[in-house]
C-alpha cells in the first residue's frame, strides 16, 4: 500500500491502491483487458494485508463471490470491462435486492461484443444504469484522472458501505491505462457499514430516516435469511403486492433521498459560462483543454464534469441549461448521456452532441471547433 506522497502510477493501479486504502480485503475477478492491472496488482498486494485475491472461473462467479464475502463481513471488489460487466448483471440485480455493499469496476472498452478489446469507450453509460433486471437506483462514479482513480474508488467503497448498495465505478480504458501523478493523502475518510447492536435486528427494514437497515454478517447468530426473492424486513420471503412494493420503493428511495449527498460534479469556468460542455471520464480531458483555449480567446466557455453519473445530477444540469445559451455533450459512444441531458433540459437551452466511436477520444480541436460553431 502506498504511503502518503507523490507517485507516478497507472490509473488501474491507483484504483487498486484506493481499494486497499478504503479497506477492501477481498477481490474476486476474471481476466479481461483493459482491467487486468487491477487484479494483477491486488494479487500481489492483498495477501500482504491479510486480504484475499481469488481468481474465479468467470465474471458471474466473481461478483457472486463478492456478494457472499460481503455478507461474511468483507468489503469486496471486482473489476472487469464491458463484456464481463454484462455477465455480472443478474447478480448485480441480486446485490440490489439484498442490499449488499460491493464495488464493481468497469474499465470500459469499445464494443459491441469483443469490439476493439484494448481500446477505450464510454459505451456502458446505460449498461451501468439499466443493465440489470428489475427496478433499482444505481450509484455510478466516473474518474477522469489517475488521482480520481484513487479518490473515487475510496468514495465508491464509502457510498457502498453507507447506503448498503452495490456501487459501479465506471472508468475507461484510457483512464485505466494512463500514467500520471498520484498524490496519496495522509488522511482519508473511511466509512464502514452499520452492524446491529442488540440481539435482534431486521436486516431488510428500518425506521431510520436514511432507510438503510443495519447489516449483520454470517456467523453472528442472527440466523440470517438472505434471499433475492421478495422479502419482509426479517428476510422471510413474502410475495404479497404490499411487501414487494414497500421493499422495492425503500431500496430505491434510500438512494434517491441521498442524491444531494451522493452527487458530485466538477465545475470548471461554469459560473458565467454562455456555452458549456458536459462530459465525464476520458472525454472530459479534451473538453477541458478546449474550454481553456476558448477562455483565453475571451469566449465564456465552461465545463461541467460529472463525477457521479448515476443518480444523474439533474439539478446541476438544469441550472446550467437555464444559464447557458448552448451545451455540448461530449462522449465516446453514439450519444447516450446526451439523451439524459435532453430529458432533463429540453426546451431550456440548445443541446448539441459530439460523439466518437472507434476506440478514440475526441481531440481538443474537435471539441473546440464544435463549441466555436455553437457560440451564440
Amino acid at each position: 500500500m502506498l504511503k502518503p506522497g507523490k507517485y507516478l502510477v497507472m490509473g488501474n493501479i491507483a484504483c487498486a491502491e484506493g481499494a486497499l486504502r478504503a479497506g477492501c480485503r477481498l477481490f474476486a475477478g476474471y481476466p479481461i483487458t483493459p482491467a487486468n492491472e487491477i487484479a494483477e496488482y491486488l494479487s500481489s498486494e492483498m495477501p500482504k494485508f491479510n486480504g484475499y485475491f481469488i481468481q474465479m472461473e468467470d465474471e458471474i462467479a466473481s461478483i457472486a463471490a463478492c456478494i457472499g464475502a460481503s455478507w461474511a463481513g468483507a468489503k469486496p471488489m471486482t473489476a472487469t470491462s464491458g463484456p464481463g460487466f454484462s455477465l455480472m448483471q443478474e447478480n448485480l440485480s441480486y446485490a440490489h435486492m439484498t442490499e449488499t455493499p460491493l464495488v464493481v469496476v468497469d474499465v470500459q472498452r469499445s464494443g459491441p461484443s469483443t469490439g476493439q478489446s484494448t481500446d477505450p469507450s464510454q459505451q456502458d453509460f446505460y449498461q451501468a444504469r439499466y443493465g440489470a433486471h428489475g427496478d433499482y437506483e444505481v450509484v455510478a462514479l466516473s474518474p477522469w484522472s489517475c488521482q480520481e482513480m484513487y479518490e473515487l474508488t475510496i468514495r465508491a467503497f464509502n457510498l457502498a458501505e453507507k447506503y448498503r448498495t452495490p456501487v459501479i465505478f465506471l472508468a475507461d480504458g484510457m483512464i485505466g491505462h494512463i500514467k500520471e501523478e498520484l498524490v496519496v493523502p495522509k488522511d482519508i475518510d473511511v466509512i464502514n457499514r452499520k452492524g446491529p447492536i442488540g440481539d435482534k435486528c431486521t436486516p431488510f427494514g428500518t425506521d431510520d430516516p436514511s432507510l438503510v437497515p443495519e447489516m449483520p454478517k454470517f456467523g453472528q447468530g442472527y440466523k440470517l435469511q438472505v434471499t433475492g426473492s421478495s422479502h419482509r424486513s426479517t428476510g422471510v420471503r413474502d410475495y404479497s403486492p404490499q411487501v414487494h412494493t414497500e421493499l422495492v420503493n425503500r431500496i430505491r428511495n434510500k438512494i434517491l433521498r441521498a442524491e444531494p449527498e451522493i452527487r458530485d460534479v466538477a465545475k470548471i469556468e461554469i459560473d458565467d459560462a454562455e456555452i458549456a460542455v458536459i462530459a465525464f471520464g476520458a472525454s472530459a480531458r479534451p473538453s477541458y483543454g478546449a474550454v481553456k483555449k476558448l477562455r483565453a480567446e475571451g469566449v465564456k466557455a465552461g465545463l461541467l464534469r460529472l463525477k457521479t453519473l448515476w443518480p444523474f445530477p439533474e439539478e446541476e444540469i438544469m441550472a446550467l441549461a437555464n444559464q447557458a445559451k448552448a451545451v455540448l455533450v461530449v462522449e465516446m459512444n453514439t450519444g447516450k448521456m446526451v439523451r439524459e441531458v435532453q430529458r432533463v433540459a429540453c426546451n431550456h437551452t440548445k443541446i448539441a452532441s459530439l460523439t466518437r466511436l472507434g476506440g478514440i477520444t475526441p481531440t481538443l480541436s474537435d471539441v473546440y471547433n464544435e463549441l466555436r460553431r455553437l457560440k451564440p
Binding site: 495477501p47 484475499y52 458471474i60 463471490a65 469486496p76 440470517l224 433475492g228
Partner: protein
Amino acid sequence: MKSLKQLKSEYIVENLNAFCPGCGNGMILNCFIRAIDEMGVNLNDILSVSGIGCSSWIPSPHFRGDTLHTTHGRAIAFATGAKVYNPNLRTVVFTGDGDGAGIGGNHLIHAARRNIGITCILVNNMNYAMTGGQIAPTTLHDAKTSTSPYGNPEQPFNIAKLVAAAGATYVAKWTTYHVMELTQSIKEALNNNGFSFIEVMSQCPTQQRNILNIRASPQDLPYRLLDMLGESAYRADRPEKENYLYAVPLKTPEESEKEIAGLGYNAKLVDHITLGRVVRVESEKLVDAKSQLKSLQTVRRLADHLEGKFEVGVFVHSKRLEYTEALREVSRRAKGE
C-alpha cells in the same frame, strides 16, 4: 436419538413447508439436521447457501441458521466468497441437478478442482421440477418431459463421477431410500477438509409421475418412487444379492406377474428406473429360471439384476490441500514469513 419433533423445534423455522406432498427434500433436510445434531455442530457456525429450484428451498426458508438463497446455479460461487473470507463457517451448498449440473455446472467443477472446504448436497430429481418438469442434464434418454414430448434426445450426466474427476476429496451418491447412509455421508462430508459432494437421487411425485410414467394414486406415488430408487440403486463396494432377475412384460405387468407366479416363482411387481414396471423374479436356480421365463408369452425379455441401475456409495474419500489453507500459504509468502 432425538425425536423428529425435538429436531424440528431446534432446527426448523416454524409453520413453513414449501414442498409438494411426498417430496424427497424434507427427507434430505431431516438427514442433514440429524447429521449436524449428532455431530454437535454449533448452529451459528453453519452457513447454508442455495440457488434456485426446489432443492434450494431445503435450507431457505426452513433451516434455522444463516442462509443465503442466491441466483440460479451460482450458489457455490457465492459460498466460495463467504468461505474464503471466513473459513470458520461450515459452508453447505444445497443445489439441484438443473441448478448445480446445468446452469451451475462450471462452478461445481471448479469448486471441486480448488478443493475448497464446502459441502455440496445435490438433489437429483432428473428434471427441472419447479418450472414444470423440463429436460435437465440428468434426464434419462427417451424420457418424456414437458420439453421432450417425443422422448429426450439427450443423454444424462453422471454427476458424481464428473465431480470426482474434477478433484473433489469426498464424493458420495445415495438416494432418499438410503437415509441412514446419507446421514452418515453428510457427517463424513462435513468433517472432510476439502470439497465434499453428495448426490442424492430423490423422488418428485409432481413431475416424475409423467417423466417416469409411474401411474399411481397421489397417496401411493411417493412410496412407489422411493421403492423404485431403492430397487434401481446398487453398491459396488459390497456384495449384492445376485439371485434375481427382471422380466420385462410384453403387455401388462400384472399379466406377466400372474403367469410367472403361476409357475411357482417368487415374483413381485416393482418399479425400475430404466426398465419401468417389471416383475422381479427371485430364484436359487437362476440359469434354469432364465431358460424357462424367456419363452413365456407375456414376457418381452429378461433383464440382468444390475441392468440399467445406477451405482451408489462413497466413491472418493481422500486428502488434498484445501483452498483456503492454500490462500493462507499465499499470504505467508507475500508477507515474507
